[in-house]
């Protein structure tokens, strides 16, 4: 399971090195956070998640000298930059993630084996399809919380919303996922 602390307790040292321009520190930051950032961008339907991830970390590393905070704040900052780059890309491309009907990619499971059915059927494509069926705001909140491991307050700051709105969006998003899983033939 993904760790909230992706620096193995060495964040302060890594940040100090990055602020001093250490290539090793830069590499450490990229290695620690680029997978989750790319996963976030991919599940958000970015057209070129790898290229966009590189753009995000170019911005992060060029401005790391100006960052002051802890590891949680740094992760929040990185995801904020990632989200803005995503919005920029969407404005440029005017594209939206195309939802794929779940029924086309999921075999009907046995009715009495829910857990195995879900685990077998919930592959990468299915997860992306489920996320694409959410509203953009629900998707933003859920993915930041699940992938970025951000708290409600951190998500609120990154997205410019109140904590109450974030809680409401995550609740509605998870309910939507549950309904989709149920509707598409995966009984709970």
């Amino acid at each position: 399971m993904a760790r909230r602390d992706r620096f193995d307790g060495d964040f302060d040292e890594v940040l100090a090195g990055a602020r001093a321009g250490s290539p090793q520190a830069f590499e450490r930051i990229f290695t620690a956070l680029s997978p989750v950032v790319m996963g976030y961008l991919r599940l958000q339907g970015a057209a070129e998640p790898e290229d966009l991830t590189s753009e995000v970390f170019v911005a992060v590393l060029r401005n790391v000298g100006s960052f002051h905070g802890d590891e949680a704040g740094f992760r929040s900052w990185v995801f904020t930059i990632a989200h803005r780059r995503l919005l920029d890309e969407r404005r440029r491309s005017y594209r939206k993630p195309t939802p794929a009907p779940l029924s086309e990619s999921i075999d009907t499971p046995a009715p009495d084996d829910v857990e195995r059915s879900v685990e077998n059927l919930m592959g990468a494509a299915e997860v992306r399809a489920l996320c694409a069926r959410l509203s953009p705001d629900q998707r933003d909140v859920l993915l930041m919380r699940l992938l970025g491991r951000l708290t409600v307050d951190e998500v609120a700051t990154a997205l410019g919303r109140t904590p109450g709105a974030v809680k409401a969006l995550q609740r509605r998003g998870l309910r939507a996922i549950s309904r989709l899983i149920e509707r598409e033939g995966v009984p709970l």
């Binding site: 250490s22 790319m38 970390f57 060029r62 900052w77 879900v118 992938l147 307050d153």
Partner: protein, 294 residues
């Protein structure tokens, strides 16, 4: 039984943090799959990112500043309109242009970009340097002390003949002889005023006779009692003395005092240039042009 479990805030937090209740197992599986998307290998970096990762802070100085959002230092958060980062109080509009930051950027940039430019120019052939029209080639070739004066003049003439580069007119000390009665008048190169590298170019007014009406350098006086007095010519001035072999020709270009002596050819006429001459840089104290490479 409700198909969709009741999701209160506590249940949601449990699902998100990984402690999902049994009733929310499918959602927990969904959460696990989402998180698995973030456990892949790091992507291949773009060229710009690869350079940052390889050079670290040395490459940062070459990049553009970014508008980014930062949290408050005290850990508090503030709501803001996410669409307008510029309105957020924590927005950093650009990298801080403080002296420390600038100095840090300069230190962090070990001249990689500057060195690259200089290396490219330095490594370029002479023709390429001349083509730049910056005078850098001239500065490199005709740098102080690299070539003696006469050689430098010949080289400059050659350059001017084949390239659009025009060097400022050389103020040959010989050409100033006509009316120069300044402090250097009569001084030879040994005086050091004209520099050792211009030895031979300067002919003193004493030698030409402009200073005292008598050509030839005034040498030591020959005593009447010296041997050979009877053979000495009558016009040999005892007071001024004259070298028996007057081999120093007056150096007015094209006007030899001795009709049989070869004239100083002087500088060849410049070949008319078919291309506009690039702007040249003049220095007040010499004929070399230098240009600082940014």
């Amino acid at each position: 039984m409700p198909a969709t479990p009741l999701l209160d805030d506590d249940a949601i937090e449990a699902i998100i943090t990984g402690g999902a209740a049994q009733v929310a197992r499918p959602l927990a599986s969904f959460v696990d799959r989402v998180r698995a998307e973030g456990e892949a290998a790091p992507p291949h970096p773009s060229p710009a990112l690869a350079r940052l990762l390889a050079e670290g802070g040395a490459a940062v100085a070459d990049g553009d500043a970014e508008t980014v959002l930062l949290p408050h230092d005290d850990g508090t958060r503030q709501r803001h309109n996410g669409a307008d980062a510029g309105a957020h109080p924590n927005t950093i509009a650009h990298l801080p242009a403080t002296g420390d930051a600038v100095a840090a950027r300069r230190r962090g940039m070990p001249g990689s970009r500057r060195r690259h430019l200089v290396a490219r120019v330095a490594g370029a052939g002479l023709a390429a340097k001349l083509a730049l029209g910056t005078g850098a080639a001239a500065a490199g070739v005709f740098g102080a002390g690299m070539l003696p004066g006469p050689v430098g003049r010949v080289a400059r003439d050659a350059i001017q003949a084949v390239t659009p580069i025009q060097f400022p007119a050389v103020d040959h000390p010989v050409e100033r002889r006509g009316g120069d009665d300044g402090p250097d008048a009569g001084n030879s190169g040994a005086d050091g005023a004209d520099g050792a590298d211009q030895h031979g170019e300067h002919v003193s007014p004493d030698a030409t006779g402009e200073s005292d009406g008598q050509p030839g350098v005034d040498g030591p006086q020959v005593a009447e009692t010296a041997p050979g007095a009877d053979e000495r010519p009558d016009d040999t001035p005892a007071a001024t003395g004259t070298s028996t072999s007057s081999t120093v020709p007056p150096s007015a270009p094209g006007r030899p005092s001795n009709p049989g002596a070869p004239a100083d050819p002087g500088p060849p006429p410049s070949t008319p240039s078919t291309t506009p001459a690039p702007p040249t840089t003049h220095k007040a104290d010499g004929d070399t042009a230098t240009t600082t490479i940014p």
